[in-house]
């Protein structure tokens, strides 16, 4: 046993002797005069493509000036030299040098995306600038700019907080990370893996030769992300919206839930966010009245307006409270207790059944239906219709909207401190009921997909950088609408009538050659002009696209939103805009908005 212990001892002493006595000089050189430095080899981020293979985001080459730690370096005089050469504030250079001193390996970026002039100034004096280097890096480039801003999101330098929470994932300060949109959601796919190379460097940080036995690793570029977006329709939507102050367009393929368009306006240029904004620019962006960073498709809520009449009608049919042929006589107003609720059409719609009620968007018909249903049942059916919950789309920040159930009113106003009359407003989609554009489009997509709402998603396919498919999205069933076949058939008939019928309120959405369906809406806005809504699907028989459009402060109804929805659907389906426009429709009686001297929540037209 002593022999074994002695043998082990001899092995250790032998190894020590080898390392320290025989190779001692070599290692001493390495440790004192030379450094083994690890250099990160940055992996380029993966591509983002649309459903047809159009590249939406790629990487471009950029040069940056970096600092790495160096022993025996006069950091103070180096800071002075650098700040003079590069025209940078000396404090900034000092700060970065201090950071570099803390780094084990790799380097700290001093100037990102340096100009050619800056690069040549450094290269000329390289031997007198120890540890200062020009490195080639890949920078994110968004080819479609603001058009796909909210869907794609953007990347920027990883924050201290992210460094902390993502400690497991080997991020290092200076790395780039997805901050929003699919860039954030599919970060792990897109990111790739940085490599590392070990070099023996001399005292001024110039690489002499690769370190023998250094555990280097090749960089692996990030995978490609193929989205469900259609860049043509997306651009159509973004350009149409850009003529207004703010708004959103979302389009889905109803059978799969694939998101064809996800446009929110106004949108920041993601390329400027990648370059990093000055504090001033950032404050401008976040402080803006129009909230450009808000993704209105999933984060903004609006009263649904008259498009909600579809839900009220379904609730009426499903509860058996009414059948589609029962009629109501609209004389332009409806009395409820001591209050009068106006129809948008002053002169009234006359005898109105359910089909006419939806087609011509008669408010009085739905006031009555709402009163018969009551708040409890109407809101119960609203929830069962999938509103008030997130759709599950694969980008962060989706909000739930609001379904004001009786218990919600109790909580907000106190028990019994609110009038059951709210149901009249709710029945026509006004009041405290709030939906997001993605919910609005999801509801119609559910109706035209036989009641099954597919979970909306932007992810279509993931591929390695060499093009091998790693993962493909499978359509995921989401909420199922508890509507009978007859109800669904009726709702579709009514929506087609809205666009194709002689008195329909959505005639502006007609597309020559095919039948389409739709529904108008006006979201009352207590802070300014009303918001204009339109949801549509096309073709009516076998819907391939469902679009929801909301344009803020654009006034009422179909005039603004419907043509946008039509353009987007045509762009996706490949219809050329005919000259002159198809079927010039005699302007529907879009009377001026009713001045509302009435109490309660009276509805505007539609």
């Amino acid at each position: 046993m002593r022999a074994i212990a002695l043998a082990v001892f001899v092995v250790i002493i032998g190894r020590l002797g080898w390392l320290q006595l025989v190779r001692g000089g070599f290692y001493r050189n390495l440790s004192e005069d030379n450094y083994v430095q690890g250099f990160e080899v940055h992996a380029p981020r993966g591509l983002i493509l649309d459903r047809n293979g159009v590249i939406l985001a790629d990487s471009r080459a950029a040069l940056s000036i970096t600092l790495s730690r160096m022993r025996n370096r006069d950091d103070e005089s180096l800071a002075a030299t650098l700040s003079e050469l590069l025209a940078l504030p000396p404090e900034l250079v000092g700060e970065r040098l201090a950071e570099a001193r803390q780094r084990y390996y790799g380097s700290v970026t001093l100037v990102e995306d340096a100009t050619l002039e800056q690069v040549s100034v450094i290269e000329e004096r390289r031997s007198s600038l120890p540890g200062v280097k020009v490195e080639a890096t890949a920078r994110r480039r968004y080819l479609t700019g603001p058009v796909t801003s909210h869907a794609l999101g953007y990347v920027a330098e990883v924050s201290d907080r992210e460094l902390e929470t993502l400690a497991q994932l080997n991020y290092e300060s200076g790395d780039v990370i997805g901050k929003s949109g699919v860039e954030k959601r599919y970060e792990l796919l897109l990111r790739g893996r940085d490599g590392v190379e070990y070099w023996v460097c001399d005292a001024s940080g110039i690489e002499l030769y690769p370190f023998e036995g250094g555990p280097s690793q090749d960089a692996r570029p990030g995978g490609s992300l193929v989205l469900t977006l259609d860049s043509v329709a997306q651009r159509t939507a973004a350009e149409a919206l850009s003529k207004f102050q703010a708004g959103a367009v979302v389009a889905l393929e109803p059978a799969t839930g694939e998101v064809l368009v996800l446009a929110s306006h106004p949108a920041p240029d993601p390329n400027s966010l990648v370059d990093g904004l000055s504090t001033e620019e950032w404050n401008d962006l976040t402080g803006s009245q129009t909230h450009p960073l808000l993704n209105r498709c999933v984060q903004a809520t609006y009263p649904p307006g008259s498009q909600f009449k579809l839900v009220t009608a379904a609730a009426g049919l499903e509860t058996g409270e009414i059948d589609r042929h029962q009629t109501v006589t609209c004389r332009g107003a409806y009395k409820y207790g001591i209050r009068t609720f106006r129809c948008w059409k002053r002169e009234g719609h006359g005898v109105t059944d359910m089909l006419k009620g939806i087609t011509e968007s008669c408010d009085v018909y739905f006031y009555q239906l709402g009163a018969r249903l009551g708040v409890d049942r109407l809101m119960e059916w609203t929830e069962r219709s999938g509103l008030g919950r997130v759709t599950g789309i694969d980008i962060a920040g989706e909000v739930r909207g609001n379904v004001p159930t009786p218990s919600w009113y109790d909580r907000v106003y106190g028990k019994r401190k609110w009038s059951k009359g709210v149901v009249l407003n709710l029945a026509i989609g006004q009041g405290e009921l709030l939906v997001t554009p993605i919910q609005a489009v999801g509801l119609v997509a559910g109706i035209v997909n036989d009641g099954l709402m597919m979970t909306p998603h932007l992810f279509k396919r993931a591929e390695t950088y060499s093009g091998r498919v790693i993962a493909t999205a499978r359509p995921t069933p989401g909420h199922r609408l508890p509507y009978s076949r007859r109800t669904i058939a009726f709702l579709r008939e009514a929506m087609v009538n809205v666009v194709q019928g002689t008195n329909g309120t959505g005639k502006q959405a007609r597309i020559r050659g095919i039948e389409v369906g739709g529904k108008t809406g006006t979201a009352q806005n207590p802070h300014g002009d009303d918001h204009s809504w339109f949801v549509m699907y096309a073709p009516a028989r076998d819907p391939r696209i469902v679009v929801a459009v909301v344009v803020e402060n654009a006034g009422s109804g179909a005039a603004v939103a419907a043509p946008i929805a039509r353009k987007v659907a045509m762009a996706y389906l490949g219809f050329e805009e005919p000259e002159p426009p198809a079927q010039v429709i005699p302007e529907a009686p879009q009377g001026p908005p009713t001045p509302g001297p009435l109490m309660g929540g009276e509805a505007d037209e539609l």
Binding site: M1, V8, L16, L30, Y104
Partner: protein, 408 residues
């Protein structure tokens, strides 16, 4: 208790070597935790000094406990250790999800450190019984079971390095208890089988050779069957266990086998440690002068890589001195094991000596690139309360047995 005559039997050499190593440790921890630009005592050093004081008291106390008491307590110590290992699996804390420690506020207590010694006591107690026989491989089953139970629990924590230590204690103790070396060698064959099983052809050839060997050998038939089945089971379990390992454990082993391929994290430690050791040359760079250490190239310098700091600053000479102290300490213990009359005490001493020696050798082997990174501290030198406490306590036990060397 101890009387005055017995005090003459105190192993002064052992005691001095121990104290010298502990002192060395504190000095090196001082150096390792010293920032290059801010002088002054780091709180870690103060804490280590405090723990050393307590540990020396514990060592003295352990020397007073008689070997009969220890033997009587052995089964309870073993039971308690297994219980603690079970509890730590349930409520323990760890840096990255492993469950190794109890957090006692001031101190982090690691039950596996104590369990090692409980296993030594239990094994010594079993092997010193008169009816225990070791003349056939079948007889090894009980001692192996005694070790395997706590070892499996430690493996679950997961703590690969410490669990391997459990296994390594067995052969020297069995040898000391009188088991024939051939059987000990046969006992190790399942390990070889486990390693070879990663290559089908090698494994088949190996099994055939083993079969032939067993066929011609003059062992009992039951022993032959047991050995062959043991080899097959170990071989099949090897790849399975490999799958069960945590990523970082696999990384450590692969990085050791093939440092070129493995990234920064693990390979970097090995490279930097080797540079630190090698650059120390014959006489070192001088105390507090290690550049590898000062520029923070060395990871974990005050704990697992304390030996690299020593090697860099004090050179081959310093390393040889420290290594000789370890070797002297262990040889002193082996000598004592041959002198004590009590069989139980003799076995305990061998167990403790082997633990001390193997753990030191493995830790130093890591810093020299001879062994995969295990995450084990260097006994008596590394920073860390539990390790120092139990190591000194175990040396206290050995010193106490030395005082009673004449007792049966």
């Amino acid at each position: 208790m101890i009387d005055r005559r017995q005090l003459r039997d105190l192993d002064v050499g052992m005691l001095v070597a121990t104290l010298a190593l502990v002192a060395f440790g504190i000095v090196m921890i001082y150096s390792a935790t010293q920032g290059s630009d801010d002088p002054g005592l780091s709180p870690l050093v103060k804490k280590q000094v405090l723990v050393t004081g307590v540990a020396l008291l514990v060592m003295s106390a352990m020397a007073l406990v008689s070997q009969d008491t220890l033997q009587a307590l052995a089964p309870f110590a073993y039971g308690l250790a297994v219980l603690l290992l079970l509890v730590v699996l349930a409520v323990g804390v760890g840096k990255t999800g492993e469950k190794r420690w109890f957090d006692l506020g001031l101190l982090r207590f690691q039950p596996s450190e104590v369990a090692k010694y409980a296993v030594i006591l239990a094994l010594a107690s079993y092997l010193s019984r008169r009816k225990t026989r070791l003349d056939r491989p079948v007889h090894f089953i009980v001692p192996l079971l005694i070790v395997l139970a706590p070892m499996a629990l430690v493996l679950l924590e997961p703590d690969l390095g410490t669990s391997i230590m459990f296994l390594l204690i067995v052969p020297p103790m069995l040898y000391w208890a009188g088991a024939p070396p051939l059987f000990l060698f046969l006992m190790l064959t399942p390990l070889a089988s486990m390693l070879l099983a990663f290559n089908w052809i090698a494994w088949a050839v190996y099994l055939a050779a083993l079969f032939w060997f067993l066929y011609v050998s003059r062992l009992f038939f039951a022993d032959k069957v047991l050995l062959f089945i043991g080899n097959i089971v170990a071989g099949r379990a090897g790849p399975l266990l490999w799958q069960q390992l945590e990523d970082y454990q696999r990384h450590r082993i692969l990085a050791f086998l093939n440092p070129e391929k493995y990234r920064f994290s693990t390979g970097y430690q090995l490279i930097q440690s080797k540079i630190a050791v090698g650059s120390g040359s014959a006489f070192g760079k001088g105390f507090l002068q290690g550049t590898q250490k000062n520029f923070a190239f060395l990871p974990e310098q005050h704990t697992d890589f304390i030996f690299s700091v020593l090697a860099e600053e004090l050179g081959f000479l310093g390393c040889a001195a420290v290594l000789s102290l370890y070797l002297y300490l262990v040889f002193r213990m082996f000598r004592l094991a041959g002198q004590v009359r009590n069989r139980f005490a003799s076995l305990v001493i061998v167990g403790i000596a082997s633990t001390l020696f193997l753990q030191s050798a493995i830790n130093i082997g890591v810093t020299l690139g001879l062994s995969p990174v295990t995450g084990m501290p260097l006994p008596l030198l590394s920073y860390g309360g539990t390790s120092l406490l139990v190591t000194l306590a175990s040396i206290g036990i050995v010193l106490g047995m030395g005082l009673r060397r004449m007792e049966y």
